[in-house]
Symmetry: C2
Subunit: 303 residues, 2 copies
Amino acid sequence: MTEPDPNADPFAERKARAAAWFAELQATICAAFERLEETQRHGPHAALAPGRFERRATRREPAPGEDGGGGVMAIMRQGRLFEKVGVNVSTVHGRLDARARQSLTARRDIPGLAEDPRFWAAGISLVAHMRSPKVPAVHMNTRMFWTPAAWWFGGGADLNPMVELAEDTAFFHDRLRAACDAHDPGYYPRFKAWADEYFMIRHRGEPRGVGGIFYDDLCTGDWEADFAFTRDVGRAFLEAWLPIVERHRDEPWTEEERAWQLIRRGRYAEFNLVYDRGTRFGLETGHNVEAVLMSLPPLAAWP
Amino acid sequence: MTEPDPNADPFAERKARAAAWFAELQATICAAFERLEETQRHGPHAALAPGRFERRATRREPAPGEDGGGGVMAIMRQGRLFEKVGVNVSTVHGRLDARARQSLTARRDIPGLAEDPRFWAAGISLVAHMRSPKVPAVHMNTRMFWTPAAWWFGGGADLNPMVELAEDTAFFHDRLRAACDAHDPGYYPRFKAWADEYFMIRHRGEPRGVGGIFYDDLCTGDWEADFAFTRDVGRAFLEAWLPIVERHRDEPWTEEERAWQLIRRGRYAEFNLVYDRGTRFGLETGHNVEAVLMSLPPLAAWP
């Protein structure tokens, strides 16, 4: 009988499964978005070749030459429907320096991190900026975080229409609510309220979009259950957003609507650069800056 | 003989003179820029009416209905030469809450502020985004800050060409150096190095432009001397930038140069939203958000 290796990471298998899930979700989403491109027959960009994702490896270098993990950035640009969309996965590890620790511990004290600053994190992050001002921009992100003394999941999704349509808002929230309710009836009310608080452009006193869900520090103690919930959030995102795209993809738009879209995108950039925790964490932990900032809009206006 | 009022603010006259200077400089600059518009005869926008500044009062409301001072925002948009330029002055006062104090004390401990958090500040801030990618964008800002136990001046100017021309960089720096040297031969080397450090987009490891000068916490003990220096920085800005505009205003440009300009402007927005101390201070102390963010480019790209 072989003794188990006392130095083995008891979380190694779970980390591998989480990272594999994020990669699978990336593949599923990229395929779904490329299908949208192929089937786009109307509108001012229908004559273009359907957009295709370009994939590129990214690296986190905490110090020059040091390995901190990395990821795969998938970006599609100037398609028929998508003006710019990034779907990034990453699996990173190393030690959290004081500054990065601060951007985490602003919200929570991570037990034991001062003594042992090792961390591991994997996740997927998606932002889609559309050609049409009739099709909402959207964001989704889920992640698993591990430190020697704790693990947790986080994530969310939010819808960013240029002009709110109550029907779309209700549909998007309903799909996310269904995914939440299947796990815990308390999740949706809590995570919806958290999104309303989180996706707020505080210096303007205005929300960046019409919300969705946001959760962090999710650790019920049952890793399998929390991982299953995080998978369901990823799936629910597609169920929530794709029908909204179908509903609006062939609607015409005006120059005025386009101009307003560019202003809304400016607000989006403000939120991400000033407040977004994932962006700040990425910039502070030395991940490939193009991957961290892929969320920024292809074109934005502050007229 | 009248006894002096023991409650009178011994700094009242100085505050008034500083505020008046910033207003005068605003008027001088706005007039100079409108002259540039009137005399612009070539290029794709020469057929437009010459741009004119619109002036609007701004208010700082630390809490709803509370008076925290205000200013005058002067903005010119979609001119022949200027795509968007803001020249704002403000005179604000009140109490620094903990968050705003932090964005100041990150660099210095302000003596006595924890016990008596009153402050007063006046300044001018200018950012010009040009139609032509051949004409550098530019920024200038000077200010006086007062607290019960301290006063100081700060400011600077930096040049942001889309492609560096060594001749322009040298000229811009020479004018600022001359203004500095007239006051203290140590100023220019120190304030140039400070600008190189300050105007750095740290997450990209690249400077936002070709520098200039930056100074803060300037208090030699001689208020008249420090005020005179700050006035000279304002004058030197015009001497440094206007000839560069003259040199390039009639040069043609290509679509590729315009596209690169929009990318450079995206970098500029990144710097201002992530790092700029004036922007952060403004957003945190509740000043009119349109005035604080007038520095953001009319159009920017992250392709």
